[in-house]
């Protein structure tokens, strides 16, 4: 219970601080609304915001899974082929030095105003921490475990599946969590670059042009909520898939093997 309560309390405190600053310093409503006004700007326009939100969520999810899949694949290959690790690593680091904003325009030139642009940008951001963590995890598997497998004549494949992969679960999830936090940022940057059609980012720009400060802040809040939710889903997946990190006794599932 405390695990849920403490984050909620700190979020409320941030909201109160915001409220206090706006009230105490007499901030004009066209500069910054009060938190409740920003939230109202979202709830009152929910019917038009919801489809845009769905769009951003879709881009985030597609991009996240593309990036995560790519990241894991690259990580495994790099960990297993040292030559590739040395040659590909600098390329990957360079890829992350490219400012994402500067990446968007050429992507639009190539793919046009399409969802592909957003997916590529998100994947570009997500794959890197995943690859780095998978390479790290796989190269730091305890050599004694691998020797044990060798003594008993285990095949490389079985050693990989039953020792190396599960041993990499924790670093993999660290990478996925970092990726999840930045995924929405990527999607929004993509929406700004591919500035056609409808999207949350453009809705915000529109609100800005209309001096609708509550709308601007509200949209920011909405994007943040998408980001947090995605992060929490990844955390939930980690909890479900790595029960040994928190439990001392394995759960009994109806599908647990018996006999």
């Amino acid at each position: 219970m405390r695990n849920v309560l403490i984050p909620i309390v700190s979020l409320v405190v941030v909201g109160l601080l915001w409220q206090a600053i706006v009230v105490l310093f007499h901030v004009a409503p066209y500069v910054a609304p009060r938190p409740l006004q920003a939230i109202q700007a979202v709830t009152q326009n929910w019917s038009s915001l919801w489809p845009l939100t769905l769009g951003t969520i879709r881009e985030t999810i597609y991009g996240f899974f593309t990036g995560a899949g790519l990241g894991v694949g690259l990580g495994v290959i790099m960990a297993k082929v040292p030559v590739l690790q040395r040659s590909v690593y600098p390329v990957l680091v360079t890829s992350q030095a490219v400012p994402i904003i500067a990446l968007a325009s050429p992507l639009v030139l190539i793919f046009g105003f399409s969802v592909v642009v957003m997916v590529i940008i998100v994947a570009w951001i997500v794959f890197f921490p995943v690859t780095v963590n998978v390479v790290d995890g796989l190269s730091h598997v305890d050599q004694d475990f691998l020797n044990l497998a060798r003594v008993y004549g285990a095949s490389r494949w079985r050693t990989f599946v039953h020792i190396e992969v599960p041993a990499t679960a924790s670093p993999l999830f660290s990478g996925l969590k970092i990726g999840a936090t930045y995924a929405v940022t990527g999607a929004v940057i993509g929406e700004l670059a591919a500035s056609s059609g409808t999207s949350l980012a453009l809705y915000q720009e529109h609100a800005n042009t209309n001096l609708n400060a509550a709308g601007v802040y509200g949209t920011t809040l909405l994007m943040t909520v998408i980001g947090i939710s995605w992060f929490l889903l990844v955390v939930l997946a980690e909890v479900a898939l790595t029960p040994w990190q928190r439990r001392s006794v394995a759960r009994r599932y109806p599908w647990s093997r018996r006999g």
Binding site: Y152, R158, A167, T242, S248, V249
Partner: protein, 251 residues
Amino acid sequence: MAETLLALQKVTKRFDEVTALAPTSLEVAEGSFVAIVGPSGCGKSTLFNVIAGLLEPDEGEVRLGDRVVNGATGHVGYMLQKDLLVPWRTVEDNITMVARLTRRVRREDREEARRIATQYGLGDYLRHYPSALSGGMRQRVAFMRTLVTHQDLLLLDEPFGALDAQTRLEMQQWLLQVWRESGRTVLFITHDVDESLFLSDRVLVMSPRPGRVVADIANPLDRPRTMETLLDARFVELKGRIMHLLHGGAP
């Protein structure tokens, strides 16, 4: 006289210029318990890794039964000071780990794991993860994992080295019980002279630079061994002899 299970013929291992193991010959009888004592760096673990097949000897021959097994794996049970239980598997699944690594885990494997765990007092912990167990319990599970491989020869490399004195004594008595009941052949590395005498039929004393066996001492102490064994005059005398050898004395 029991048959010879393991025979080493002038086995030598070098790492670059350093001779880790000088030509070593020894025979281990089936069903016997042989302890190897020596200071660190005397080549005990190199000897083990050569027998287990992790290292290929530069010269000589490792023979198990009637097969030459130089550099080949898959013919011994193997256990280290580190229990090497995987944290993501339960006790039951850790016991069946070797089956999982070499073929499919069958129903018989699970049944055997549960039977052996129950027999040796861990029946209530089958669904626990290793993190929930004490050091002594973890080493028991590791030993059960070694037993269910059904290898005749078990190589134990300081398996109780990290345990406290009380737990270690319990584990030694437990190991002797399991050894008696299972009829396996045990090669047991330790740097603890008391432990080597308490457990074994025979003590091999090794010395470093280059690693070699300097003495092969028969251990006549009666079985079953108890606390009293530790006070037996022969125990004290043998201990004195081995200590003398370990500190560079002539055999």
